[in-house]
């Protein structure tokens, strides 16, 4: 059994955002057992799993990823869309755009502290689109 959905997230500002509920609210009831794949159709944002409780984690993600992949390096050649452009592409490949999560007992089988992050790397990324594919 396959089910596929095309969903559009709210417009998020640059940073790391918990979107588990927003995604689940846009799809039907989950099957009892299976896998859910989330695929983000963009090259300057990412999807990740991380801490769902303390907001400070998401703040430190923004600050620290900007240190790991700095803006304004003189070596950048892909600069015509602004200083946030090329670092966003790099972060997208480091974090990834495709997430596969197990479904057990009709729920996403996430750990207690895990939530799904939309990682918005652009200053003005707009509405991000996700293809959800569920196998059961």
């Amino acid at each position: 059994m396959i089910k596929q959905y095309y969903i559009i997230l709210k417009n998020y500002k640059r940073g790391y955002h918990l979107v588990t509920s927003e995604i689940l609210s846009q799809i039907d009831e989950l099957p009892n057992e299976g896998l859910m794949n989330l695929f983000l159709k963009h090259t300057s944002a990412g999807l990740s799993i991380n801490e769902n409780a303390d907001y400070s984690v998401r703040v430190d993600f923004e600050t620290t990823m900007n240190k790991i992949v700095p803006e304004g390096l003189p070596s950048y050649s892909h600069v015509f869309e602004g200083d946030d452009d090329m670092p966003a592409h790099l972060k997208s490949s480091l974090i990834g755009v495709s997430l596969t999560i197990p479904i057990s007992n009709g729920k996403l089988n996430l750990g207690t502290w895990q939530g799904i992050y939309l990682c918005e790397f652009r200053n003005h990324g707009g509405n991000r689109k996700i293809v959800v594919t569920i196998f059961s």
Copy 2:
């Protein structure tokens, strides 16, 4: 056909550890052809595929990932669980917690030099839990 398993790894110290055999020893015989998804239910450890032979690779992973994501940055705000806390969250999203591996001829279809790494980013991470989902 779906099969799902919930497995608990041994307690590993901080660092990078080959866990291919430990995982396979806790599940039934693999189907002839399919996919195996491994999902780690934690936000401060990761799963990866890398070199299964030379131990020095795993040593250099620990040393170098600590340079890429340093401890003790003055900018960290999420610090109440110690210096290894926030870097562990960041490494977890950089390395990832969900791995999908093909199964062919009743075996994981890994390359000659590939093994599954548990990447333990905490000083005292405890026993890590994995959901194994096999589609065939």
Copy 3:
């Protein structure tokens, strides 16, 4: 329904290369709906999704990933295959070797600007092998 293919890519030089068409040309027509998993059987290269249009993105990937994971760090112990060896292993785990992409309406459901990158981290990596698994 599962279909599995074993494909061998052309020999690429170090850098980031668009391989979407090369992969699709080596497999049968896609099913109407499903998932495609690509698994690279190597520990010193990676697979990623990123910008399919402007070549400068791929140039900046090479330059910037070399800054994030430098060659010649005095701390490296795994050095017997040359300066590009250990950084290649690290980049492989940061970028990943397993990609899962949705199939919709008989096509890969990629975003407008998304393509599949082979990320070749070695100076002389040779022909890279991929297992393609399609579920429908």
